[in-house]
Symmetry: C2
Subunit: 313 residues, 2 copies
């Protein structure tokens, strides 16, 4: 019965006053004075976004992380979340224990409160929703529109690791812990996103592939984003598995990176670079915004834009 | 493709500035100054909470209404919502058009903004989540704890209509438009809930059955709620189908009423009764809180508490 699951597994995680011991019809939260609030809701479906055999603790981590990555892309600091768990008979007690343990670890890791939500069972397959709420200084929220010709194009961290990790999770390649973790336990760039408010002209997180997401940012800003494929940052683990042009295009279209793609005026390049150390986030310039519309990929002076830019949903 | 569905069907509904044209990773909203915020998230699953053949516009209405009912129970005024639509192949273009038309009608009816969310397809069966955000005066949010011995027990509207409507929707009884609508298009008691802040000692919405929900309120408040079965308000349409003790117990355990159950000191009974006209909500006293723990049902001096109090989830 869901009431027992909520009491035994979710209530211990809902320690904030806002959650009211999960005893009321809704959560109540006093927002910080003089801040804008940022809201996002993402759904992970079994068989679509994760595999039935994936470790449930990692699914919980990813469910939280992909939503926090949306907050990071807006420059917001997370405060609380609501869960919408649609479960099937496949999510038995062992799965539920693993899921809630992983969720608790992730909530503590990111300093986020569980405020409430809903759990229903009897679905044909699990669908896991999460709403994340964060705060940002007034009128400082980042967005996809705002990139200007002449701006530098930046990306955080490394690109393509999660795509290689996915192939490993599917058994298509020998497992590597670093790359598997990049797929299963993404790290939303919260500190960087928060620091970019007031610096970046446009920002978004890379979830469907660097190129397709860059195309979305370009179209939202009505500019062109030519990407220097040779500049795309690869981890040493990824580079060891291929560093040629096809491998780099695969990385740039693989998705699930949860890195931040952003633009900033060249005059602020030193200010951007100075954020790498305090936010512990590698930052790489991968191109410069031009007039035009949409993304393109360039290598040794040639347009190498692939037909498929990433994942379409 | 979900991008086309979002652009053609959901974007026209997302007219508030907070939604940012659904073009960013998250919504941004400036909360009203000096208000607490209230958050709820409920999921409706196909085959569990509604039937595959139900009119999609009514499903959308109900998805919004059940969440707004949670806000009403807390005394909050709704501001915006986020959708988490998990769809299967059964939710084709015709279904989606009906769903979004019904959602638009409901959003306009209740004066609520669509801020954002997520749509995923490829599920085995639909699971529809919605997060509702509202505001309430500081420290005025209602809750289930707080009922005191001696308080009057009140309920809004009429009880049991939706249970009869469900039987009609399932083809188990001849259809009646009023009762079917009470099941398919519940009316959250937002005006009443807002007016009860500062008057009611405890409140919740009746979703699983008057008796089981009264039991929850009683236990959250550590009191007893003896309900006078003869006093439970029935609509004339429901009473015409049975007004004897078994029919009244069925009504009190049927659920899906989305009425408000609340307690208030007898000294405020006139103030409560005076809310009926401005909120256009019938209000009925159905008992008085006593020391003890849990709900009981009484008729002609006899304890008639049924074994099954309502829906357990």
């Amino acid at each position: 019965m869901e009431r027992d699951f909520i009491r035994s597994r979710l209530l211990p995680l809902a320690t904030s006053a806002a959650a009211r011991g999960l005893a009321d019809d809704a959560a109540v939260w006093t927002p910080p004075l003089g801040r804008d609030l940022v809201f996002t809701h993402d759904v992970l479906a079994c068989g679509v976004h994760y595999l039935a055999g994936d470790p449930p603790g990692d699914i919980a981590w990813k469910l939280l992380a992909v939503n926090l990555s949306d907050l990071a892309a807006m420059g917001a600091t997370p405060a609380g979340v609501l869960l919408g768990l649609g479960l099937s008979t496949a999510e038995d007690d062992v799965w539920r224990a693993g899921f809630t343990e992983g969720l608790g670890r992730a909530l503590r890791h990111f300093g986020v409160a569980l405020w409430g939500g809903d759990t229903v069972s009897g679905l044909a397959a699990a669908a896991l929703g999460l709403t994340a709420v964060g705060a940002v200084a007034p009128d400082r929220a980042l967005g996809r529109a705002g990139a200007q010709p002449g701006d530098d194009i930046w990306v955080s961290g490394t690109i393509g690791d999660a795509g290689l990790g996915l192939a490993m999770a599917q058994g298509a390649a020998p497992a590597d812990t670093f790359l598997l973790n990049r797929f299963r336990r993404p790290q939303p760039r919260l500190a960087l996103g928060s620091a970019l408010a007031g610096i970046a002209t446009a920002a978004m997180d890379v979830s469907d592939g660097l190129l397709i997401d860059a195309d979305r940012l370009a179209r939202a800003s009505s500019v062109a984003l030519p990407i220097d494929v040779a500049a795309i940052p690869l981890s040493s683990a990824a580079a060891a598995r291929g560093d040629d042009l096809p491998a780099r295009v695969r990385a740039a279209t693989a998705g699930d990176d949860y890195e931040l793609l952003f633009t900033a005026p060249p005059a602020l390049a030193a200010a951007v670079a100075a954020l790498a150390a305090p936010t512990r986030t590698p930052l790489t310039r991968i191109g410069r915004v031009t007039p035009g519309l949409g993304v393109s990929a360039w290598h040794a002076g040639a347009d190498v834009t692939p037909a498929r830019l990433g994942w379409e949903h």
